[in-house]
């Protein structure tokens, strides 16, 4: 009997312990080196007068990759420390957020919460500001940025610009919306029409707003492109007759008709199942009508070196369709009485978990009663 009770207790404890985990946020060990890197960035790169600010660490969490698999079905494995510092002064409050991966600051984001930024010096122009920032960033990263700085000398930073020198493509974008004036600089390593790693710097209303640099996180793999855009589209078109997807009740959808003149293909080098960047074609096919599952198109990813299709998926939308020229019934069912029941709605999931709890309570109570009886 004692053994039986022990088993019951152990089982119940495990079940209840597991279900109680949701009471606490799951946190992973924060990497103290990430804080060192972020602070070094604040002290050596951030163009603010630190003598006027109190700097405190407000938040540090670790993102071990999303719980949702990537499009190829593989988990997205990476560890990224997310930190937020508050820079507080009498005149302004700033939130400075960081993403640190591989012990490298990958992304820094500055938000003015109150007042205006107290700058470390008076910059005479945006060109002066970004050049000075690049010089400081070069010292901080120990990564030679002289070619990036030199490219700025040849352009008007107040205009939209795209220029390439060697394997470096500089794109300057001006955005003026919602009362925000934003200038973004993007230096990308480019080869054969594909952009790989990049350093991006964004100024908003004259102040540094964001800096992103994935050069220390991703490596550049084989950049060979043996498949042209036209060949990639042909590969996609040849692949489609063998592609299908499942609907509920084991219904399979296949046999797609493509509106060929709408087909597009673009070259990307985003990380796929790896931190090594390799070029691939993203081919977008448009279907000639909406297929089951609200599917209006298909997307294929094709390695630009080998021509292998490594992803094919649907593109669907979240709107019910209506044919206003038809006299037929709408796609939706007839209206039901919307009057409410007074009871709380309980989904099957909720009923399930409540059921477990009730059983657990029952077993615990029964165990105590049995023990008491044995005592007597």
């Amino acid at each position: 009997m004692k053994k039986l009770l022990t088993k019951i207790y152990v089982t119940l404890s495990i079940v209840l312990f597991v279900t109680s985990l949701g009471a606490f946020p799951v946190t992973y060990a924060a990497n103290p080196d990430a804080e060192t890197q972020a602070m070094a960035f604040i002290e050596n790169v951030l163009p603010v007068d630190l003598s006027k600010y109190n700097v405190t660490l407000d938040h540090h969490s670790v993102d071990e990759g999303p719980p949702i698999a990537g499009i190829t079905g593989q988990p997205i494995n990476r560890v990224r420390d997310n930190l937020r510092y508050i820079l507080d002064s009498e005149e302004s409050t700033l939130h400075v957020s960081f993403s640190v991966q591989n012990n490298v600051v990958m992304y820094c984001h500055v938000t003015e919460k109150n007042g205006s930024v107290i700058s470390d010096k008076k910059y005479i122009s945006l060109l002066d500001a970004v050049t000075t920032l690049l010089e400081k960033y070069q010292n901080y990263t120990k990564r030679d940025s002289t070619n990036l700085i030199a490219m700025l000398d040849a352009v008007d930073v107040t205009q939209n610009v795209t220029t390439t020198v060697g394997n470096t493509k500089l794109t300057i974008s001006q955005i003026n919306v919602y009362g925000i004036e934003q200038t973004s600089f993007d230096w990308a390593y480019t080869e054969n029409g594909a952009d790989y790693t990049s350093l991006q710097i964004t100024y908003r209303n004259g102040n540094l707003y964001a800096l992103g640099d994935d050069r220390g996180v991703y490596t550049i793999g084989d950049t060979s492109i043996n498949v042209s855009k036209e060949q990639a589209i042909d590969i996609a078109m040849n692949y489609i007759p063998n592609y299908s997807y499942k609907m509920p009740n084991d219904v399979t959808v296949s046999g797609f008709n493509i509106t060929e003149d709408r087909t597009t293909a673009a070259l990307f080098a985003s990380p796929i199942d790896s931190t090594e960047l390799r070029p691939y074609w993203s081919v977008q096919l448009y279907l000639n009508h909406t297929y089951p599952g609200s599917v209006k198109g298909l997307t294929l990813y094709i390695w630009a070196k080998s021509g292998e299709v490594f992803y094919c998926g649907t593109r669907a939308t979240g709107g019910a369709e209506y044919d206003d020229s038809s006299d037929g019934e709408p796609m939706t069912s007839p209206e039901v009485d919307s009057s409410l029941s007074t009871s709380n709605p309980l989904s099957p999931d909720m009923l399930f978990v409540i059921g477990i709890t009730v059983v657990a309570i029952g077993l615990a109570t029964a165990s105590v009663v049995i023990l008491k009886k044995r005592k007597k």
Binding site: T72, K246, G318, G319, S338
Partner: protein, 275 residues
């Protein structure tokens, strides 16, 4: 039973009771009377055969669960979780949020309908969220009458939910108020990507992407939804969360440079954090 066994039994029972206390609210997804922030996740996807592919249903289930966990993981508040949401569950949960909580956070993912498309004359002002059974959760009746200016952060991931709204105009016709931004917030002063106020509404212009749709690289739109809430639950403002999502998913430093701009639209105060 000797004294030692009695002590062990008491410890076991105390442990079990402790765990029960901790686990039960999590299991039933909240509704804790003392909380001042109400949170809810709806996903009425499977409304009729042919609407969603198998993979979409599975991914939506998983993603909405994770979003619920993120919201619960904030540690202070429960979260209503409504899979296969019906009109009744929308109405009951929205009423509960409105009646028992001071601030509300809502996420809903599914399809959009036009409840009066077949009326005479047809009406294209009003939108609905199609519930699990294919019925219209109408903007002016089911939603407006059970929401208030206490709906602080609302993200409606259905088609066209950012439309039918113009700042400083109260959208109304013979049926009543229309459009999701107004009907969820009761606020006609929401500015697009604004910087003040106590409310923010996120919705889509034109078609909303399904979660399975690829976004960029390894990421699909389920990751966009997940990371938006991940960053919000880590204390970001809407603007910061969208910027972080843009860099994480699309490699673009800011939302304004990303494909989301002008598609996933922010009405109201982009500086708001979760209450």
């Amino acid at each position: 039973m000797n004294h030692k066994t009695t002590i062990k039994t008491t410890i076991f029972c105390a442990l079990l009771l402790n765990l029960l206390v901790l686990s039960t609210p999590q299991l039933i997804s909240g509704n804790i009377a003392s909380a001042t922030v109400g949170q809810a996740v709806f996903w009425p996807n499977n409304f009729q055969d042919g609407t969603d592919a198998d993979g979409e249903l599975e991914l939506t289930h998983d993603t909405c669960m994770y979003i619920m966990y993120l919201l619960i993981g904030r540690g202070q508040y429960g979260c209503y979780y409504s899979p296969n949401s019906t009109i009744t569950s929308y109405c009951n949960i929205l009423s509960a949020l409105n009646n028992y909580y001071e601030d509300n956070v809502v996420f809903s993912k599914g399809h959009r309908g036009y409840p009066y498309w077949n009326a005479t004359p047809p009406n294209w002002n009003h939108l609905s969220l199609i519930d699990h059974d294919g019925n219209n959760v109408k903007d002016h009746s089911h939603i407006y009458s059970r929401t208030s200016s206490e709906n602080n952060v609302t993200f409606i991931w259905h088609c066209e939910t950012a439309e039918k709204y113009q700042t400083n105009t109260t959208p109304q016709d013979g049926y009543g108020y229309y459009g999701m931004p107004y009907c969820w917030t009761h606020n006609s002063g929401l500015v697009c990507y604004g910087g003040s106020g106590t409310q923010v509404f996120l919705g889509w212009v034109n078609d909303s992407p399904q979660f399975l749709d690829e976004a960029e690289g390894m990421y699909n739109y389920a990751h966009v939804a997940y990371y938006f809430w991940y960053y919000m639950c880590n204390g970001d403002s809407v603007e910061d969360a969208l910027d972080n999502v843009s860099y994480t998913i699309f490699g673009d430093e800011t939302y304004l440079e990303s494909p989301l701009r002008d598609w996933l639209v922010v009405w109201g105060n982009k500086n708001l954090e979760l209450p």
